[in-house]
Amino acid sequence: MTDTHTTTGADAVPSLRIRGLSKTFGETEVLTSIDLDVKKGEFLTLLGPSGSGKTTLLRIIAGFETASGGELLLDGTDISVLKPSERKLGMVFQNYALFPHLTVAENIAYGLKVRKYDRGALRRRVDHMLEVVGLGHLAARKPTQLSGGQQQRVALARALAYEPEILLMDEPLGALDRSLRLQMEQEIKQVHRETGTTVIYVTHDQEEALVLSDRVAIMNQGVFAGLDTPMNLFTRPENSFVARFFSDSNVLDATLADGLLQIAGQEIPVESPLHGDVKVAVRPARAALSTAADPATGEGPALRLPAVVHEAHLLGETEQIGLRREDGTPFTVRRPVGSGGPVHEGDQATIIVPPAGMTVMAD
């Protein structure tokens, strides 16, 4: 976020500006009045559950689909009337969409040929892109002779070869296995850092969004539920959807009056400008457990919720414990492996949440 190419401060030039964009297919409204400014050099991720409209938004930006209303400006000019070929964008598809009859080098050269690069410039550019993605030795291969990860790199090199204003990527790692995905995340990040291209990236994997993005737009049913840096979305979600979707938070009902939170029959002092009915988000790692075998010594005021252990399992270095509160609502706690005594299904426990672990939200 602080490297030489990207500038994501408030004064940065918006590269892409979207205002009031909406899209209906027949009767169903798929996108509702979307506003978005993507800054030059920024890595922006559209994250959301299946069917939330991510691909549709990307396809409208690319020009494969026309919006039902709203504005789409690239560097101040209206591009909504332009054909896909005139928009100066690059796109990486989930299924790579490499041309099967062309070699790796010819695939990368395609956009340059169309743009009538002269032979020397074209060769240099193709060689450079092959080097960027580390595929120089495979230049003469056909796409079918490559592994998934290699195909993905070709698609990336091909889309960046002609230096598009914005690179669009729709779940480019969706078809890869986990370890390759982690490796490709790093490579995409590296390429973004080196080229400084503005990227709009679609995924439904929040880890991917966390690793890659300068900012994340969280989509839900055709609107942005949140749009912020991963850190802010993670630590200060603005609503329950973001809290649940982005950080797996627990969401509790509460009322707030004069800085005093009424929650589960208890009063906790918090700092919040809100009033009345509110929601409280608690990330699984911000809650502790106290059991008969391992009573925790809570210090200061804290929310204490009686519950029963429902299940427990490992997530690598952390342990995830699913509980049921007295009214039956689920609550999830995560803690480092070995940081507490063993818990078993059916154990009585008390969930302890310090005030600092709570985020108060309007809805």
Binding site: A62, G63, F64, K83, P84, S85, R87, L89, G90, M91, F93, N95, A97, F99, P100, H101, Y110, G111, V114, R115, R158, A159, Y162, P164, L168
Partner: protein, 270 residues
């Protein structure tokens, strides 16, 4: 114990394998025997078709090329088959794009229509066409036959083209367009380029289906139009001209070659 339980199963297995082998052999023999027989007979001599032949030689083949009877029907067959293949592609290509790449309402119905000639018995179809063609004065005309043959060839052409087009992802064209290619450039350079082997293959299948066709020409050809299959049929009706065996052999080899070529082209795509 397990030995005992296994044995009967193995016996049945062995028996069924022998039986299956016999059946397959019989089926293959049944299918190939006539073809093989014609091939053998075509190298016989003498003025009657008999087995074993009186002598061996290339008389039959020299006769085809010297008698002058076979030239006109062969040429006509080539001509009609060529126009049929071109016509079937001219109808089939846009149809396949409409079926697979558009949101055209009623495209299921269109697809059904294209496949109708497969389901309708060919003689019934030919009788129906006779009724229509006589109204339109198309009986005994070349273009009439070509139209009938196009309808006959269409299902095969559509199958070949659409299975190939289904494998060409629409994203390829979109990718080319984001890279700056115009729609027509993306289409010709990518989609059509990838479809080309299937187009050639569909052309060959269309060509063969017409070249080989004897029912429509009998119903709709009138007295004047004599294609190769028709000529063979006619000559068999009066007396068996031994040269038929040579002609049939050539026809068989030609069609087999084109079929293999067409199939190879389709495979090549994948």
């Amino acid at each position: 114990m397990s030995e005992l339980m296994n044995r009967p199963a193995r016996v049945i297995d062995g028996a069924s394998r022998v039986l299956g082998g016999l059946l397959v052999t019989a089926a293959v023999a049944f299918l190939l025997l006539p073809a093989a027989l014609v091939l053998v007979l075509s190298f016989g001599t003498g003025n009657r078709v008999q087995f074993p032949p009186q002598g061996w030689g290339l008389d039959r083949y020299t006769e085809i090329f010297s008698s002058g009877n076979w030239g006109a029907p062969t040429l006509l067959s080539f001509e009609i088959a060529f126009y049929t293949a071109v016509g079937a592609l001219a109808v089939g290509l846009p149809l396949v794009f409409a079926l697979k790449r558009s949101l055209l309402p009623g495209r299921q119905f269109l697809e059904g229509l294209a496949f109708a000639p497969i389901v309708i018995p060919i003689s019934a179809y030919a009788v129906g066409m006779y009724a229509v063609f006589s109204q339109l004065d198309l009986i005994g005309t070349k273009h009439g036959i070509v139209i009938a043959h196009i309808a006959h060839a269409l299902p095969m052409v559509v199958i070949v083209l659409s299975t190939s087009l289904e494998q060409i992802k629409p994203e390829l064209e979109l990718a080319a367009m984001t890279m700056g290619a115009s729609r027509s450039r993306a289409w010709t350079g990518i989609t059509f380029r990838l479809l080309a082997p299937a187009v050639l293959s569909a052309f060959l299948f269309g060509f063969i289906s017409s070249f080989d066709e004897a029912v429509f020409i009998t119903f709709l050809g009138g007295a004047g139009l004599i294609t190769l299959p028709k000529y063979i049929f006619d000559s068999v009706q009066y007396a068996v001209d031994p040269a038929i065996t040579a002609m049939a052999t050539l026809l068989m080899l030609g069609v087999t070659f084109l079929m293999l070529l067409g199939t190879a082209l389709r495979k090549d795509k994948k």
